[in-house]
């Protein structure tokens, strides 16, 4: 599936909740639980993306010209969001990743998670993923 298709699917799923933010968050937390477990040896200081209150670990690796991500977070809601990012971006080519417009965030009503930069690791994580990908396109 293209990242657009995945994003549209996610938007579709969330549209069931309409404006019910609490249900959205509970759903996100459930999604987070389904995120493949991140190997402990990759959960090191080096791969931490620090937000102010929530931490995110992000481990990128390349395979067959594609970029893959393992990820985790210490907070459930961020973990849910992170799982969506992994679903959308992991396994795509670096240039695809760089170019992906993550419009789903706003469409599912989660823009406040990236608004105030310092309140969580989610925003920094998006930046990191794009940076990794960008670096690879430069080589």
């Amino acid at each position: 599936m293209t990242s657009t298709e995945i994003q549209n699917e996610i938007i579709e799923d969330f549209s069931l909740f309409e404006e019910d933010m609490e249900s959205k968050l509970f759903y996100l937390m459930d999604l987070g639980k389904k995120l493949p477990e991140m190997p402990l040896e990759h959960k090191t200081e080096e791969f931490i993306v620090k937000g102010c209150q929530s931490k995110v670990w992000l481990y990128p690796f390349k395979q067959d010209g594609k970029l893959f991500f393992e990820a985790d977070s210490n907070t459930e809601i961020t973990k849910g969001l992170v799982s969506l990012l992994v679903k959308i971006l992991s396994g795509k080519t670096p240039s695809e990743i760089v170019e992906t417009d993550l419009y789903f965030i706003e469409k599912i009503g989660m823009n406040h998670m990236i608004g105030s930069q310092r309140s969580n690791g989610f925003a920094s994580m998006i930046k990191q993923m794009k940076m990794y990908a960008f670096a690879l396109t430069q080589k």
């Binding site: 609490e22 509970f26 929530s54 907070t75 969580n120």
Partner: protein, 410 residues
């Protein structure tokens, strides 16, 4: 005014911000320890100032400058009354508690601390009452000593008396803890400190809107307040200091009105309070702040604290009723302002905060700028609900209900 006669609904009507929806729910604002909301009288005074009077103050010969100066100094008199200072000149306007404490550390501390002297703070201090002392102690070679606390969030007074000695020159202590709500026995601390010749600075950030204040009765040397935690605008704070101390302190910032005469060779400084008010002050907000003080005085501190205690008790009783050992309270001192920290087992405070926000409930999550205190409890942070006079029992119920749902879900 008696709490029984408080009409919370009509009090709420003074606060336009409370009447809004957040995420489809009526806003429940329980982040009052971070900053209180502002009554319409304050907001209007601010608007009126800029629409009718605005001018730079003090040296002006024209009508606007005259009016503005008068209003500005009126607020100083209101502050004097609010804390029962002997003179208005003992009330200095700053940006907030943080600046007030830095001012004292960098002037009194710098002038009178010597290597080997000790500054005593407590384990429950806000960073703003830790870092300024660390900085000056490092510079001077003085020692920072820390009063430990009990598990319930009360100061360990036995330890305090052991730490206190003739080496102690400054005791800097929070009056009411922003993270735990604990009200410290400040009168006892002040009297004991004075006996060994130390002076006492109180961090009154959380006391301002909740507790009656009488600096003369307390005999406190310095008291710091933040306007924005006292129903006033952001950007205004107070440093109260005894004249005999303020008079002998060197100035803090240089420039503008804080001088008497300037030449390149030497400069003589103005009297208090002006000596410590360099540059154009935050005139508009200071003028509006008066209306916040009047708002509090009109309701009365007694009535406020009674009502807020009811809210706190209702909340804690509700938590108890859950009968769940998965919710843990931090800060269970006997004497408390209406601040309650808690954690749900296995749930990061950030998640709890976001889930509450989803229901329109505003709480604070994190370390509340008290990292050493969090370390004491071995946690990273808490969820904190803090109440103000405009909060209702129904709002507390909304919070309890949301927490119950969270507890039941997993």
């Amino acid at each position: 005014m008696n709490e029984a006669s408080l009409d919370i609904i009509s009090i709420r009507n003074h606060f336009p911000i409370l009447h809004q929806q957040v995420n489809g729910h009526p806003l429940v604002y329980f982040d009052n320890a971070a900053t209180t909301q502002k009554p319409i009288e304050v907001i209007d005074a601010l608007g009126d100032y800029y629409k009718l009077h605005n001018a730079n103050i003090h040296r002006g010969a024209h009508a606007l400058a005259d009016r503005s100066t008068g209003f500005f100094e009126d607020t100083r008199k209101s502050v004097q009354q609010f804390i029962n200072a002997k003179e208005a000149a003992e009330c200095i306007f700053t940006k907030g508690v943080t600046e007030s404490i830095n001012l004292v550390a960098q002037t009194y501390g710098k002038a009178f601390l010597k290597p080997g002297d000790e500054v005593l703070i407590s384990y429950m201090e806000h960073h703003s009452n830790i870092v300024p002392w660390q900085m000056i102690c490092n510079e001077i070679g003085a020692q920072l000593k820390v009063i430990p606390i009990h598990e319930n969030g009360e100061l360990d007074m036995e330890a305090f008396y052991k730490l206190l000695s003739v080496q102690t020159k400054i005791v800097a202590c929070v009056w009411a803890s922003n993270a735990l709500g604990t009200i410290n026995p400040v009168k006892e601390i002040i009297d004991a400190a004075h006996k060994v010749g130390a002076i006492v600075l109180l961090d009154g950030a959380q006391a301002g809107s909740h507790l009656p204040i009488d600096v003369q009765q307390l005999d406190v040397d310095f008291l710091t307040l933040s306007g924005h935690k006292l129903y006033g605008p952001t950007g205004v704070g107070v440093l109260y200091g005894k004249r005999k101390l303020l008079d002998k302190m060197p100035p803090y910032q240089g420039g503008g009105e804080m001088i008497k005469e300037v030449s390149f060779e030497s400069t003589t400084y103005n009297e208090i309070p002006f000596k410590f008010e360099a540059g154009t002050p935050n005139i508009g907000d200071v003028i509006a702040f008066k209306y916040a003080l009047e708002f509090v005085s009109r309701i009365g501190k007694e009535a406020i604290i009674q009502w807020e205690s009811k809210l706190l008790n209702h909340f804690n009783a509700g938590i108890n009723e859950f009968g769940s050992n998965r919710i843990k309270l931090f800060g269970t001192a006997k004497e408390k302002v209406a601040v309650q920290s808690f954690l749900i087992e296995g749930k990061h405070p950030f998640d709890t905060g976001l889930l509450l926000d989803a229901k329109g409930i505003a709480v604070r999550t994190g370390h509340h700028c008290t990292q050493p205190l969090m370390n004491f409890f071995g946690i990273e942070g808490t969820v904190r609900a803090s109440f103000a006079v405009y909060n209702t029992m129904e709002e507390v119920d909304v919070l309890l209900e949301s927490l119950k749902k969270m507890l039941n879900r997993k």
